[in-house]
Structures are given as C-alpha cells and as structure tokens.
C-alpha cells in the first residue's frame, strides 16, 4: 500500500529548529530548516546526518520549503545548503525571501562577530543560498517536477508566512508552519480550503491555551504600559525586529495619539525603518483594513516612535523601548535589561514565547537571581509581565483549522510534549482521526488509500447515461460494466466490445441449453399457459422484450425458445431453451418455469 512518512529532525515535541522531512509518492521534501535559540552547540541545527552520513543532500531531497522568516524556521538554511550541501530548489514567499537574508546576516553577526564563533556560515554563503530560492505566490500551483506540486496559503503569523500543501497524485500533506487563526492589527487570519490532506502537520505552541479575546489583552498591555510610564518607570519590550514589533507599534502609536502622551517611544534597532519599509511594500500581505486605507494613511509610518540610541538607556524619566531580540538571549534587549533590572519602578513585558535556556524563559519562570557571564549575578527587581502577543493559533484555532481542511490524519510539531499529548487526545476524540506527535528522528508512517485515475471512454459513459434516464441520480450508486485496459502506463475503461476489438480477442461466450420434453397433451397445455395473460404481463412488466420470429421461435431478450418434434417419438414435442450467461437469471427462471410449471408465488414477483 502507498504510504507517507514524516520525520521531524527538529520541532518534534519541541519548539525550535523546525525541520520536518516528508516522503510522499517517492518524493522527499524538507519543510523548514531552522535553528534552536536555546543551544549554542551542535544541537543548534537539525541533525542532517539523518538524511545521509556523507556527501551532499541534493540527491536525497526534491525540494526545501521555508514557511516564514523566523530563525527557528530558516536559521539553518545556509548551513544546510552551503556547508552540508544542497543545490535543489528552495521555496519561500516573496516577503520571506526579502527579509530572511537580513535576519540570517544578523544572526551570523551576533554569533561570529560578538561571540567569536568560527566554523559558521559566512555572508557569501547566505547570498549563495538565497540564489537557490524560488519565490512562491499565494495559491499559485508550483510544479516542482512532473509529479510534485506545491501550493501556498496565507498563514497570518508574520509578514509573508505561508502554509503549504504538498501534493503527488491524489496524496497530499499540508504543513502549517506557524499560523494565526485570528486577524490582528496588521495581519489577516490564516485560511485554507477544504483540501482534505492525508496528513495535516500543525504547530502546537499554544496547544493547551485558549486565549482570552485579543481586545482584553491589548487593553491589559496598554494599561500596564500607561501605569508604569505615569509613575516614571521605564518599559522594556523585547521583540524580534519584524512581526509582533509592528503590531505593538501600531497599538502604542494609536494609544499615544489618543491619550496625547508625551513619554518617548524608541525602537532599538536600525532594522526598524527598513522593516517598516518592507511592510509598506508588501502591504498586500497585511490585513484587509490596512490594505484598504494604505493610500490615505500608511499604518507603518509612525509619528511617535523614534530610533533608539544606546545612550538613551541612561536618560532619566519614563520611556518605552522596543529592543531586539525577543527572548533576551543576546544583543541590545539583554543590555538594556541588565541596566534596568535593578529598579522596581521599571517593567519588562515579554510579548511572546521564550525558548528554554534563554534569560527570557528564566525570568518568566519567576527566577529572581540570574547568573550572568563572569560569575556575576543579577538581581531582578523590575516587574516582569508576560503577555501572549505572539501570533500562534491557540487550541481553538488549531481545531478550527482542522475543521477547515478536514485532514485524514493529524501530526503535531512545534510544541511541548505534555501539551501536545493533551491536544492529541482532544483531536482524536473530537474528529476521530489519528493524531501523531513524533519526537525528533522518529518516523510516522501513514498508509494512504489513493484512488486510481482512470480514463473512461465517452461512448461508454454516454451509453450508461442513456440507460439511466436523462439525469444521473447522484444519490444512487449504479454499477456499470466495462473493461479496464492497462497499457503503456495508462488505465482506460472502455466497453467490453471495444476492448475485445482493440486487443484482437474474441469474447468467450458461456451458453446453456435445456431441453424439455412434453407429450402432445402436455404441450398444448404449455402453449396455452405460456401465452397466458399472466406470464406475458409479468414479462412485459419487468421490461423484457418478447419477439416472435417467423420460424416459430420465441425470443425473450436473448433467450431462444424453440419447439421441435422428436424424431424418435412422434408424440413428443421438444422445447429447446438456450441462453447466454448475461441472461442467466431470466434463463434459469424460465427453464425452471417450463419444467415445473408456474411457481405459486409468481404473481407476487
């Protein structure tokens, strides 16, 4: 039986270094190629040696698809393509293609220039890697080769995020990447049609969370920022340069405008302006409202938000600073955090998920003393707030997507094992479909039941249609008879006669003949009987045609009834009854009838 295999190399019962291998219809596809924020060693990247111990990956992979520009989904891409070696196509959407190299370069700089690591990918490798990228448009069907096709759907989450459908023949897999089922201030909601994939591979970051309404969270956020600023405190919001940052900027910008606030808002990285520019140029990827009004007012031109300079961190008075990166694991956000952590007037708002091992994760778990480099400890006095603004689908959203796509099987990745377990039970209960949650390196195999495409001759189809009246009844299945010819790798369904003709063969006829002998008197009775109203009426009622041929033969359909005299016994008449297998039912009924007389229950037949 045909089967689809899914093996996560990363993001199996874990968040980080998303990388999932799919084998479908003889094709191998790599979905995402990310890095893990929580590790600084080999575990940072997916284990590509699973695919091959030596040599390049090109011959083992038909294509690589990147769902969006977050580093945990594309951070290992130059390593994979340039250092391990892969020359095939890499698919991603236009915005992802535009933004991905910038984030990769950022990542490289932090790792190589700041941390001093060697044996890392170079700027040139990022460029070479991006040359292998083929841009994807939404809903466009891209033919990777003759059999493999992929199609991207809008995923929300961040600018350019996509879900992908991978299809070979009638088998298909959908990979969601990260997605968001509720529209936010700058992006729309994920959408997919009822494509009924064999497997739906979904992220499950918020598998157990059902978040309160967005509006409440926003109000809460603004209230906290407002209170802190009012009492003269500083607010640090660690973010990634693109994504949540823009949403929160829009939120604060409108709030500042409305409340006529004076405290400065800064954005820490030089990337911002550039980032906002991407949003302006890819406005077709944002939500309906922004798209509709962008000619009059571009939401990504901020009046109140200004560029941050390192020296501002020591300025007195309240301020709000957006700083990268979002998990406090390095860079400017960490530096500012160190400066402000000691003052209880200040506040840090973590607007997204933090991977284990990062400082962000530690302070969210209530750790009050942090061990920094050089054995120093840092006391955390400032208020720590967590506010889930990261645009992942929550449990409700995941269920909603399942309802939309109607998959035959479900597979969870990009989440914590415990939470997955809970969601898995829920999915299996509610949808009665199998739900898998393989760990990294573990293969899930799903048996598929693909239908077989067959070409049917239009003549045959029309003939069958004619038999069933003018309109086919979609509610009633009907058998049709035809011969399937398998030739030159194609399947064709034709009428039996045509098949015989095409193959130069003769039909094998199966005929039966019965002889019934009557004495003359009996025979007269029979004649009277067979022409009796009852029998005829029954035959006609059942729609059989009765023909009387000139030589005295009677034909009911193809059944021949012939009367002859016996040579030996002149007083006996012989009745020959002959039928082919096609009329077996009627033939055997008639032969019984002629031999035994009318069964008592005939009138009710």
């Amino acid at each position: 039986m045909p089967e689809i295999k899914v093996t996560p190399l990363g993001a199996g019962q874990d968040v980080g270094r998303s990388c999932i291998l799919v084998s479908i219809g003889g094709k191998n596809i790599m979905l995402d190629c990310g890095m893990h924020m929580g590790f600084n060693d080999d575990r940072r990247f997916p284990d590509f040696s699973y695919i091959t111990q030596q040599g390049r990956l090109t011959e083992f992979l038909d294509c690589v698809i990147i769902s969006h520009f977050h580093l945990d989904h594309c951070g290992a891409l130059p390593y994979m393509s340039e250092m391990v070696g892969y020359d095939g196509p890499i698919y991603m959407t236009h915005p992802t293609k535009a933004i991905c190299p910038i984030l990769l370069e950022d990542f490289r700089k932090i790792t190589v220039d700041k941390k001093g690591e060697t044996n890392f990918f170079t700027s040139q490798m990022i460029k070479d890697c991006m040359k292998k990228v083929v841009p994807l448009n939404l809903h466009q069907t891209v033919q990777v080769d003759d059999e493999l096709e992929i199609k991207a759907y809008y995923a929300g989450h961040v600018l350019g995020a996509a879900m992908v459908q991978i299809k070979v023949g009638s088998e298909s897999v959908v990979y969601t990447g990260d997605y968001n089922m509720t529209p936010d201030r700058h992006l729309g909601a994920a959408w997919i049609d009822k494509c009924r994939p064999d497997i739906l591979i979904s992220e499950s970051t918020y598998a157990t969370t059902i978040r309160d309404s967005k509006r409440c969270r926003e109000r809460d956020f603004l209230k906290k920022v407002h209170e802190t600023v009012e009492r003269g405190g500083k607010v640090l919001i660690p973010v990634f340069a693109l994504g949540r940052a823009q949403e929160l900027c829009i939120l604060l910008e409108t709030f500042w405008e409305r409340m006529n606030m004076k405290a400065p808002i800064y954005f820490s990285t030089g990337l911002t302006e550039k980032a906002n520019h991407y949003y302006k140029l890819f406005i077709t990827w944002t939500n309906q409202k922004i798209r509709k009004t962008f000619v009059q007012r571009n939401m990504f031109e901020f009046k109140h938000i200004k560029a941050f300079d390192r020296s501002y961190a020591d300025n007195p008075g309240p301020m709000v600073v957006f700083a990268t990166p979002g998990m406090l694991h390095a860079g400017q956000s960490l530096q500012i955090f160190k400066k402000w952590a000691g003052n209880e007037k200040n506040m840090i708002i973590m607007p997204g998920y933090c991977v284990q091992g990062t400082i962000g994760h530690k302070i969210l778990n209530g750790q009050k003393k942090l061990e920094m480099e050089n054995r120093q400890t840092l006391e955390v006095k400032l208020q720590v707030e967590y506010m889930s603004f990261s645009a992942h689908a929550d449990a409700k959203g995941i269920m909603q997507l399942i309802r939309m796509a109607e998959p035959r099987n479900m597979l969870l990745v990009h989440g914590e094992a415990k939470k997955m377990e809970f969601l898995k039970d829920k999915i299996e209960q509610e949808f009665t479909i199998n739900c898998f949650m393989p760990a990294n390196g573990e293969t899930t195999t799903v048996i598929t039941n693909p239908s077989v495409p067959v070409d049917i001759s239009l003549n045959l189809l029309k003939r069958e249609m004619a038999l069933g009246g003018p309109l086919p009844d979609p509610k009633k299945p009907r058998t049709m008879h035809g011969t399937l010819i398998m030739k030159d790798n194609s399947l064709r369904l034709v009428s039996p006669e045509q098949a015989l003709k095409e193959l130069g063969l003769n039909e094998h006829q199966l005929r039966f003949t019965c002889r019934v002998q009557y004495r003359k008197t009996e025979f007269t009775i029979f004649i009277v009987f067979s022409s009796s109203y009852l029998v005829k009426a029954w035959l006609v009622l059942k729609g059989y045609t009765i023909q009387h041929l000139p030589d005295g033969t009677v034909m009911v359909e193809s059944i021949v009834i012939k009367v002859s005299s016996s040579a030996e016994e002149p007083n006996t008449k012989v009745l020959l009854l002959s039928w082919s297998y096609q009329d077996e039912d009627l033939g055997s009924f008639l032969s019984t009838l002629l031999k035994k007389g009318l069964p008592s229950g005939l009138s009710s037949m």
Binding site: H94, A98, P135, N137, L138, H139, Q140, T141, V142, K151, K274, H277, Y278, K280, L281, F282, I283, T284, F294, V295, N449, P450, S451, V452, P453, V454, D455, I456, S457, L458, N459, T479, H481, G482, T483, L484, I485, M486, K487, L491, R492, L493, A499, L500, L503, N506, E507, H508, Q509, L510, R511, F512, T513, C514, R515, V516, D585, S588, S591, K595
Partner: protein, 625 residues
C-alpha cells in the same frame, strides 16, 4: 462546445465559451470609441461649446437641434457620452457561470453584465486587475458625475433618422446598445463578485473544468487563461506582450498543446514600434518645453503611464528638464501611483529585486519625493494655485471627451507653442481632436501599444502549436488602410476561424475520453496476458467479460476432467476432440459440455444443481485466468 461572440472589437473582446456544461465568459470589454460621437464635457463653462448651432437637415424636415450640434464641420451628439455595450440578446446573461478577466482594460463592461441581468456567477481576476480596474471605473464614473448632464439624446438613434444624418454619425454601429455610464453603486456591487486568483492557480469549476490564469506580460496582473478538462484544452490569449516593460514576462510554454487557441488583443498599431514612439515622445516633449510651451499627454491613469514616467525619470536629467514640473491629474492619480508600488509579485524580475532591498519598484516614488512629479485629484483645489507653466500634464480621458483633459484643450489649444502628445492607441487622434478644431496647438501622435504584433504572434503560434485558432475577423485580412500589407494579418494552416460580433462558432472538438477516479475498494484484479494486461471489474451481480488464451482449451478440459468426478460423483467423462476444442460428455447425467476457444456451451436438460455447479466452475476458472 460553442463560442458566442458578443463584441466585435478585437482588443476589447467579450466572448462566451460553453464547455462541458459550464458557461464561461471570457472578458467583458467596453467599446468606448462611441464617445467620439459626443460633444466634450467641459469642467468649467465653455462659451464656445455652449454657443454651437443645433443641427437641422438641409431640407428642414428633421429638426434635432436639441440633440445634435454642429462643431467644426461635424455633427456631435450633445448629451452624456455613451458606450457601446457587448451584445446582450445572443445569450441569456443569467446563465453565465463564471467570468474570467484578463486585464483591467478588458473588464470595463462588468457592471453592465453582472448587474440587473440576473447574473449569479463568480468573476475571476488577479488582485492588480481588480484594484486597478476599480480605479479606472471609479475615474470613469467620477468624470461623468462631475459634469452632470440632464439631457439624454435618443431621437437620433432611430434607424430612419440615423440614416439621414451626416457621417460619421450615420455609420455609427449598434447605436441601440449604447448606454450611459454606470453608477459607483453598480461598480461596487459588480466588483464584490470578484474572486481573486494568482498566476498558475488551478481553479476547479464544478469539478468539470479547470481554469488557470497565466502571466501575459501586458500590464500589472494581466493574464491569459487556460480552460481545460483532462482531455481538452482551450487557451484564451488576450492582451499579451513580449516586450520588457514593468509586468512579469509572458508565460508562453503553458499555452502548448491547446486544441483551440482563442486569440484576441493584438496590437492596434502594428506598424508603430513602441521603443521608437517612446523616443519621439521624449524628444517632442523636450522641444516644446525648451520653446516655452506646455505639453499635454492624454492618458489612462494606469499602464503605459508608469513606463512614460520611468522613461522621463532617466530622460529629464540628461535633457536638462530637471526644473520642469510634471503634473498627473486624475481623481485616482494618487491611488494609481501608490498601488503600482505594492504589487511586487506581479512585476518583472528587475523591479521585484528592488523590493528586496527594500526600495519602491517604480522610480516615480523618487520623482514624487523630489517634487518633480506632483499629482492632484482634479484641476480644482490645490492645483490651480500651485500650477506653474511651462509644464507637462498627464491627464485623462484619452478620448478628449471628458475628464480634466477637456479643460487643458480649451486652455492651451489656441497657442502654437503648446503640444499635445497622444500615446494611447485606443482612439483615432483626428477624431479625438475634431470638436476642438481649428487648433493652433501642435499634435504629435506617438501611440505606444506593447501588445503582440503579427510577427511576434506567428512566432508564438509556431512555438505553441495549437490545433485550431479562433480570432476576430479583423486579423484575417490586412488593415483596410494598408490593404497591400499581407504581413499584417494572420496566415495559418489550417486557416484561423474568424468571428465577428454576434457570431456563434462551433469549436472543432472530438471528445472521446473522460477522467474518473476508481475507488481502491473496487478492487480491480490484474490479469496478465502475454503483452497486455487486462483488468476485470467485478460488480454485483458479477458479469465478467473474459478474454481467453490459446491454451484455454487444454487447461479447461483438464480442470473439468480432474475436478468434476471427485466433486459431483461423476463417474464417466467422455472426451471428444473437435476441430475447435473438446466436447465433454457426462454420460450418466446426459450432459454435454462443449469447450471452444471463444465459447463454452453447456447442454444440461433436467439437472439444475449440476448446471449451476458447472456454471460456477467455468466462471471460477475463467476468472482465474
């Protein structure tokens, strides 16, 4: 399969394809050349136009002085301009299932088709086509509603009267279908029926037909369409271009293997080279400005104007025109310029890679930033105070019958320093200028039409090899003005099937196959016979067509002889060889089994259980084969 042709205009087509019980409309172009028969709609009161004499026939029997005015030796209709609609009588428009739009110029009749006709279908178009199409419709409505004209002229349309009118009014065709412009409400309602599609997206219609838009290289989001089932393929080629301008290049290879290719939207200027015209445009513009005159460019608000601005961006520095103001005046000027920058996915490779930097794909962003190009919704308001001469003005409508261009014609027409440069190919410039004569202003005609020319199209057709080509009849003969140019027509083998307005063509198709899906549960059983495989489908009741092997006879007899006696207590089987096979005689039962290559005949008189046993045996055996 049939094709109903509702428009006779080769570049503004409107055809309906009936294919596998779906009814598909291909484009709905609006023929606006009819507006040339009308007087211009001035934005500010024009003493000249208001004093024109009414028209009375020479013998005085027909007096239409309220409806028709004489101007510069020609007669014009004095009412709100009207458009020539696609034919509505040939086909019930409510039966249309879908409308496929190929580019924003070919959708201007959409509200006439989808509104007040009982239409309940879906319209498919790409996002740029929808957005820019909406702008063009908005602009058209705005132009008309800004200058309301209560009067609607109808008398001149009566056949008996029309034939007595002076030309070219006398020769105007289909005047009974001419209609006034739709309202914004109709536009919004019509466009709400549009479903967005992307290039190469496969859209299933009712499970019967698949339609796919392909990049056509002509304008932002412009597409050709493939309409196909598993065995038949129709390609619909509308405005397409092979030149390197701003849109994504044309996808040619996907048009291959078409049974029928419907070819519309070729260039209207087969002898004018777009690059040469662009050069003429720049040099004439520079010459006029240097001499202290103004330049008027009547144009649509989207399309070639982007290329003109890009060309000027490079040109003005070299030509020392850096200080000359460029104005773009249209109710949708700002939107058009803004929208052009956000459709990176639909642009040519060069422009696409600019967005990755990130920079705006079109250089007019820089022209606006440096204040070299200014845009205004109309001549009223800010423009009147900020406007400096000499200058260059881009404005619509290219027919010179409505829009802000009318005002500039009145303003600048009297001075020979000024120049009007026609770049749009849709209107004859002499007809466009007719109501403004006599003019002192210089006229330059540089029509830029990037659509396929005859040379390119014959090369394309050689490449994609369609079995049959359907095209407007205009393409099957040289243009009337250049009847000796046999290179300006389509010459194909087999010859193209021409259509005209109201034609109904039967397309040459022989459908022989249909694709079905065999459920895995049906369980076909494979049987291998020497060189071919045959599958038997078993149904209830099992009726099986069996194909025998040569060896069947021997095998068959053997099976009977071996298995019968043991199972049914048959003691004696007599085997008799015949020419074609064997006869088995079960003597005790008085039963004969005749085995031949193409048939088995069981003669069994009064023993039904034996007969059925034999029957099943034969069947089982045949199935095993």
């Amino acid at each position: 399969m049939k094709l109903y042709c509702l428009s006779g205009h080769p570049t503004l087509p409107c055809n309906v394809l009936k294919f596998k019980s779906t009814t598909i409309m291909l484009d709905c172009g609006l023929d606006t050349t009819s507006v040339l028969q009308f007087l211009p709609l001035p934005l500010v009161h024009s003493p000249r136009l208001s004093k024109l004499p009414g028209w009375v026939s020479k013998d005085g029997t027909i007096n239409l002085e309220k409806e028709l005015k004489e101007c510069a030796g020609r007669v014009f209709v004095d009412s709100q301009p009207e458009f020539c609609l696609p034919e509505k009588e040939l086909l019930d428009l409510s039966t249309i299932d879908v409308i496929l739009i190929s580019n924003y110029h070919c959708m201007m009749a959409l509200p006439y088709i989808t509104e007040h006709t009982g239409f309940t279908g879906t319209v498919y178009a790409t996002e740029p086509t929808l957005q820019i199409g909406r702008l063009l419709m908005e602009e058209l409505v705005n132009f008309m509603e800004r200058v309301p004209k209560a009067q609607s002229a109808t008398c001149w349309k009566y056949k008996e009267i029309q034939r007595l009118l002076p030309g070219p009014l006398k020769d105007a065709v289909e005047v009974s279908t001419w209609k006034r412009c739709y309202s914004m409400q109709d536009v919004n309602s019509a466009l709400s029926k549009v479903q967005l599609v992307g290039y190469s997206q496969k859209v299933e219609l009712f499970g019967a037909v698949q339609v796919t838009p392909l990049s056509s290289g002509y304008s932002l989001g412009s597409s050709n369409w493939i309409i196909q089932s598993h065995y038949e393929k129709v390609s619909y080629v509308s405005g397409s271009s092979l030149l390197t301008t701003h849109p994504q290049p044309m996808d040619q290879s996907s048009l291959k293997n078409s049974d029928v290719l419907i070819l519309t939207g070729l260039t209207q200027m087969p002898t004018a080279n777009p690059d040469g015209m662009l050069g003429d445009f720049c040099s004439n513009l520079a010459m006029t400005i240097r001499a202290g005159g103004n330049v008027l460019v009547p144009c649509y608000s989207s399309g070639v104007i982007y290329d003109l601005l890009e060309c000027l961006y490079q040109f003005i520095e070299n030509a020392n025109l850096g200080s000359t103001p460029f104005y773009f005046i249209s109710p949708v000027a700002n939107s058009s310029l803004e929208f052009s920058q956000i459709f990176a996915e639909w642009l040519c490779h060069n422009k696409q890679s600019k967005v990755y930097l990130p920079e705006p794909p079109f250089p007019h962003a820089e022209l606006i930033q440096t204040n070299k190009l200014k845009h205004y919704p109309s001549i009223h308001g800010d423009f009147s105070s900020e406007f400096r001469q000499p200058c260059v003005v881009f404005t619509g409508h290219p027919s010179l019958r409505f829009g802000d261009v009318v005002h500039f014609m009145e303003l600048w027409g009297k001075s020979s320093l000024n120049t009007i440069i026609f770049t749009e190919p849709d209107f004859s410039y002499l007809d466009a200028l007719a109501p403004y004569q006599p003019l002192a202003m210089k006229c330059v005609y540089c029509p830029i039409d990037t659509r396929l020319n005859f040379h390119q199209v014959s090369k394309l057709l050689k490449e994609v090899q369609p079995l049959h080509v359907v095209c407007p009849e205009q393409y099957t003969q040289p243009p009337p003005a250049q009847s000796h140019r046999s290179d300006l027509m389509l010459e194909l083998q087999p010859p193209p099937m021409p259509y005209r307005r109201c034609s109904v063509l039967g397309l040459p198709f022989r459908r022989r196959w249909e694709r079905i899906q065999l459920l895995p549960e049906v369980g076909p059983v494979a049987t291998h016979l020497s060189d071919v495989s045959i599958l038997l489908i078993f149904s209830q009741p099992p009726i099986v067509q069996v194909l025998p092997l040569k060896k069947m006879r021997e095998a068959c007899s053997a099976v009977f002889i071996l298995s019968l006696p043991s199972q049914h207590g048959i003691t004696e089987v007599k085997v008799e060889e015949t020419a074609d096979g064997h006869i088995l005689h079960l003597q005790a039962e008085d039963t004969l089994i005749q085995l031949e290559e193409d048939g088995t005949h069981i003669v069994c008189d009064d023993n039904e259980p034996l007969r059925t046993a034999l029957r099943d045996l034969v069947l089982r055996f045949l199935m095993k084969l």
